[in-house]
Symmetry: C2
C-alpha cells in the first residue's frame, strides 16, 4: 500500500521517498565498513537523476555543512567511488557516480585481498616450519591468492555479459 507514483519533488529534486531511501542505502553501505557521511553522499549522488551533484546540492539535500561534504567527497574520490567533473562554464564542480564506480569498488576490494595474502605470507616466516600454524597460514595464503585469481575471471565474465546484452551502451555519454 501507499504507492507514491507521483514523485513529490523536494528541495533539490529529491522526493520524500527518495530522501528516505538515501538514508536507507547509506545504512547498508555503512554496514560494510564505509563511514556514515561518505555513504550518504554516495547514495545521494547515485539516486540523483544525472548521477552527479555539486557540493552545495549535497549539503542542502543531506542537511549537513559544506565542510562535511568536502571531507566525504575527498575520501570517495580517493578510493575511486566518485569522480570529479569540472563544468567549463561554471565554478561548480560536479561529483559523479557512474556505473563503472562499482567496478572500481571491486578492484579496491581485490587490493584488500592482496594485503591479506601478503599478510599471511609474512606469517609463514615467524612460525615453525611444518607446524600446525604453518599449515593454517599456508592454506589461508593459498585461498586468498586463489580468490584474487578468480576475481579476474569473474570481472571478465561480467564484461562479456554486459557487452552481449547491450553492446552499444558503452557509447552512452551524458
Amino acid at each position: 500500500m501507499a504507492e507514491q507514483v507521483a514523485p513529490q519533488e523536494g528541495p533539490d529534486g529529491f522526493s520524500e521517498a527518495q530522501l528516505a531511501y538515501v538514508e536507507d542505502l547509506a545504512a547498508t553501505i555503512t554496514a560494510s565498513g564505509v563511514q556514515r557521511m561518505p555513504s550518504r553522499v554516495y547514495a545521494a549522488i547515485l539516486v540523483s537523476e544525472q548521477g552527479s551533484m555539486t557540493a552545495a546540492q549535497l549539503a542542502a539535500t543531506l542537511q549537513v555543512s559544506p565542510a562535511a561534504v568536502s571531507t566525504a567527497v575527498r575520501w570517495l574520490t580517493q578510493v575511486g567511488m566518485v569522480s570529479r567533473r569540472s563544468t567549463p562554464g561554471s565554478r561548480r564542480e560536479q561529483y559523479v557516480v557512474d556505473s563503472d564506480s562499482l567496478i572500481r569498488l571491486i578492484a579496491h576490494d581485490t587490493s584488500a585481498l592482496n594485503s591479506w595474502t601478503s599478510g599471511f605470507a609474512r606469517g609463514l616466516e615467524v612460525v615453525e616450519p611444518g607446524s600446525s600454524a604453518a599449515h593454517r597460514l599456508a592454506e589461508l595464503r593459498e585461498f586468498f591468492t586463489f580468490l584474487v585469481e578468480e576475481m579476474d575471471g569473474v570481472m571478465q565474465r561480467w564484461q562479456e555479459r554486459k557487452n552481449q546484452s547491450s553492446p552499444s551502451r558503452s557509447a552512452r555519454k551524458r
Copy 2:
C-alpha cells in the same frame, strides 16, 4: 639479515617476532573494517600452535584485560570467525580458529553482497522508471546479483582444488 631461526619463546609460547607479527596482521585486518581488538585476538589465535587459545592466554599475550578479550571473542564468534570449544576436564574454554573460518568469512561477505543487492532493488521503487538513475541502479543490482552467483562457483572450485591436492587433509583432528 637478522634471521631469527631460534624461536625466542616469550610469555605464552609466542616469540618476539610472533608477537610483532600478530600486531602486523591485526593492522591489516583492521584496515578491512574489523575493530582493533577482535583483529588482534583473531591474529593471535591464528598464529598459536594449536590454533586455539583460552581467554586468559589471550589477555596475557595481548596485554589487555580479560574483559576486552571477552568482548572481542563474543563478536568473533557471532560472525563465525572463531568458534568455542569447551574442554571436558577443565573450566577453560578454548577459542578456536580453524582453516574453515576463512570460508565463513567469505560467506559473511556474500551476505553483505546480498544486502547491497536488495538495497539497489529498493532504490528502483523510488526513482522514475526508465530514468538515468533507474538504469544506474538496475545495473548495480544486476552486477551484485551476478557477483553472488559467481561466488558459488568460486567456492566450489576451491573445494575441488583442495580435495584434489590433499584429499585426506579433511580427516585432520587436533
